[in-house]
Amino acid sequence: MHSLLPFGRWLLVLCVIFASQVQAAAINTSSGWNLPPGVTSISQEIFSLHMIIFWICVAIAVVVFGVMFWSLFAYRKSKGAKPANFHENTTVEVIWTAVPLLILIAMAIPATATLKKIYDTSDADIDILVTGYQWRWHYQYVEEDLSFFSNLGTPRSQILGEEDKGDFYLLEVDNPLVVPVGKKIRFLFTSNDVIHAWWVPDLAIKKDTIPGFINESWTIIDEPGTYRGQCAELCGRDHAYMPIEVRAVSQETYDEWLEEQRQMLAEDAAGSQREWTMDELMDRGKGVYNTYCAACHQADGSGMPPAFPALKNNPMMITEEGRDAHIDAVLYGRSGTSMPAYSGTLSVADIAAVITYERNAWGNDAGDRVQPSEISEMLSDD
């Protein structure tokens, strides 16, 4: 019915697609279009495995498509081609069964070696327990008695397009994971709720966090730097909003950072005992609110009824009678709704501050303060 013409067009089109993609990649020089080679010996091994198998696939594609398109070109009926009369050839069939098999075996050997290295988590210098939460990461330095949450650092205004997006849009956090270079770090992965996956491409670690079970992995980072990643397993609404930021630093900087963290913890502990001013509470509360509450209840407290009630003019938050219920909801969550319990997630100072903030922001006029000491008393009563 129609002859070569479509094929010419087809080839042309494929070329155009290919060219447009090359161009697209070239425009965005910051990204590239390939795996990053990464900064660990494992990640580089994986990268070279990836490149070998990629070129093998390209070579197979060139041969297969080459023969195919040449046949289509050479044996056109419109050029008077007469069909040959053969439909099997044992030799050829044995060859094209055996050759792929050999290629695959050749690939399996280095892949096995790499995999065995990845599984060798022995003799680690530092153990870090990584726990997935909906939708944030929790890091616990097992030997250091130090732990903290790591939340999305990108402001909501950027997500909603009210503000220009920064360079590390959705790849920045408030508290990055800090580790020393040159040390073997063993990660223990688990989850508090659903399955997440902790993935940092530059470290070539991607591991699911399974609630109730622990998975292991390890890394030795060679170069200092900041390495970013994301949760890779669908974990619900804010799956896109729980990035990972790993800061690899020298041993001295790491030690200093540890010292700093310990001091902050001590200050926090002291802070839960003293009296806070309204301004202090409002200031801290605003930050906590924007990190933990604004995704559902909105930055202006308007909520998204009916799923997420408005906090602005919420009777619970503008009257004295609602105070206890309000504190209870934040501490223990509300069963049957998506409101989680924050007693285990936030420090007492944070809880006191955010409740105070909710009672006094956006025109709410409860006027009262909730002190950290009050919260810690309530918690110790349980």
């Binding site: 990204s31 091994e45 495995l49 594609a61 069909p83 094209w96 997006k165 974990c235 619900g236």
Partner: protein, 555 residues
């Protein structure tokens, strides 16, 4: 369960006549009265009518699922929350997957099986015609329930088409129970449909058609039906366990009670991996029918095609955990599933090589079905090669759950399975409707589809390698260009499918060139001995069959 061959008819009861097939056509006789109007379609036990129903249902679902994909692509056109909220985005990705897998691709293949298997093996109908009607009508009920969950409190399924526990159990929306029951109905439909297909193939072949004489489409469906019967009950089992975890307080997928969330994945993928082959094996059969026709040459390596299909099916039972390389499997298990997965490349490669050897030294012309089939071979091979890359477990740590995987399986399913379905439609439409599909519209449909589909899915390889996780409604800035290309391609592909609807409408209205019994010059097989369009009832008596190896017209 292979029966002895049905006895040969003693006398050739006047079935040796012309291509128009005198006795192949129903001559009134003992067929029962047909109800009319809507009732006719509700009650029909005719394999051709049920086949048509299946395909129309699949087409409808293809557009519903496609619309959801376009909502997803619209949100991903630019970074930032621009168009929908994340809750709805998750429902759209989930429903898109469920509808395309269970509502579009599988029913389309079952529809083709219904239409073609009886006429390709010389049977009067399916073996169990009432069961066939039952299997079909379960689907609209099932998908009505499934779609209605979108309007329930808390929304529809939002945990991905793989619905991993505990996101789908403890943390799922209230409508999850309805989703599970809808899947049960769809599963019953699939199992019964598959039983029917196996019984038809093993039992209703015309007397001198032996198993190794069957057209490859029939062979691939025989093996597909076996896979369906083997794994759909496992899906039924695992969703039943979900139902118990959600509503009756069991702890199958909860470590606190001694269960394991990963157990869900093992059971799901024991179903899910063969399911992947269920969606591609019939496509192999279609392409193996079309390529020889337009190359005017016998299929190269018929037997090895059959064997390769069988090996793929058997291997598919022992590779499931390659979907779970990052869940923390023990090293030995990781290695086992890596090796067995890599081995699948061998029989799959054999198939591609056979098609190309069929083209080699043929006499090739480029009609619409051939164009779609050739595009299938190229594009499916791309999907297969990225599959080999994904099989290497340590490298899969970097690919897993990224857009590289999305690119891989869409290449197998859209430029692969969907293109094969389109090729089948263009190939057999003259037999179904009596007129050739409109060539101008068909060509436009083909070229726009090829451009659209590759523009959609090829850039996804790059966004995946560059680090974009799948199933996210919002992404970092470095993925912006690739996503914009994908979204443009997606809309192009989606909208150009309307041309296909136009082609079908023209065929149904008989607007077009009339097709003779043998609609394509090089076509072989019993269906081409029937008049076009094929009458409602065919083969009241078993037709005479000449195996292809003895056929005078093609060697």
């Amino acid at each position: 369960m292979v029966p002895e061959l049905p006895p040969r008819p003693d006398k050739h009861q006047a079935i040796s006549d012309t291509a128009a097939g005198g006795s192949a056509v129903d001559q009134g006789g003992h067929h029962h009265e047909q109800p009319t109007g809507l009732l006719r379609w509700l009650l029909t036990t005719n394999h051709k009518e049920i086949g048509t129903l299946y395909m129309l249902f699949a087409l409808l679902m293809f557009f519903i699922g496609g619309t959801m994909a376009l909502i997803v692509r619209a949100e991903l056109f630019q970074p930032g929350m621009t168009f929908v909220v994340p809750e709805f985005f998750n429902q759209m990705t989930t429903m898109h997957g469920l509808i395309m897998v269970f509502g579009a691709i599988m029913p389309a293949f079952v529809g083709l099986a219904n239409w073609l298997i009886p006429v390709q093996i010389g049977a009067p109908d399916m073996a169990l015609p009432r069961l066939n009607n039952f299997s079909f009508w379960l689907l609209p009920v099932s998908f009505t329930i499934l779609l209605s969950t979108l309007f329930m409190e808390g929304g529809g399924p939002n945990f991905g088409w793989t619905f991993y526990a505990p996101l789908s159990t403890t943390y799922g929306p209230p409508s999850t129970s309805f989703f599970i029951l809808a899947m049960h109905l769809a599963g019953i439909s699939s199992i019964l449909g598959a039983i029917n297909i196996i019984a038809t193939i093993l039992n209703l072949r015309t007397p001198n058609m032996r198993l190794m004489d069957m057209p490859l489409f029939v062979w691939t469906w025989l093996i597909t039906a076996f896979l369906l019967i083997a794994v759909m009950p496992v899906l039924a089992g695992v969703i039943t366990m979900m139902l118990l975890d959600i509503n009756f307080g069991t702890s199958f997928f909860d470590a606190a009670g001694g269960g394991d969330p990963v157990l869900f994945q093992h059971l799901f993928w024991f179903f899910g991996h063969p399911e992947v082959y269920i969606m591609i094996l019939p496509a192999f059969g279609i392409v193996s029918a079309i390529v020889p026709t337009f190359a005017r040459k016998r299929l190269f390596g018929y037997a090895s095609m059959v064997y390769a299909t069988a090996s793929i099916a058997l291997l598919s039972f022992v590779v499931w955990a390659h979907h779970m390389f990052t869940v923390g499997l023990p090293l030995t298990a990781q290695l086992f599933f890596m090796y067995s997965t890599m081995l699948i490349a061998v029989p799959t490669g054999v198939k591609v090589f056979n098609w190309i050897a069929t083209l080699f030294r043929g006499s090739i012309s480029f009609e619409l079905p051939m164009l779609f089939s050739l595009a299938f071979i190229v594009q499916f091979t791309i999907g297969g090669l990225s599959g080999v890359m994904l099989a290497i477990a340590p490298v899969d740590f970097q690919y897993h759950d990224t857009y590289f995987v999305v690119a891989h399986f869409h290449y197998v399913l859209v430029p692969g399975a969907v293109f094969a379905i389109l090729a089948a439609a263009y190939y057999w439409l003259p037999k179904w409707s009596g007129v050739y599909p409109n060539v101008k519209l068909g060509l436009a449909h083909f070229w726009l589809s090829v451009i659209g589909v590759n523009l959609t899915f090829f850039p996804m390889h790059f966004s995946g390698l560059a680090g974009m996780p799948r199933r996210i409604p919002d992404y970092a800035l470095q993925f912006a260009d690739f996503n914009m290309l994908s979204s443009i391609g997606g809309f192009l592909f989606g909208i150009s499918q309307l041309l296909f609807v136009a082609v079908i409408v023209l065929c149904i209205r008989k607007k077009g060139e009339k097709a003779p019994a043998q609609a394509w010059e090089g076509a072989e097989g019993l269906e081409w001995q029937l008049p076009s369009p094929a009458p409602l009832h065919t083969f009241d008596t078993p037709p005479e069959f000449i195996p292809e190896r003895d056929s005078p017209s093609r060697h």
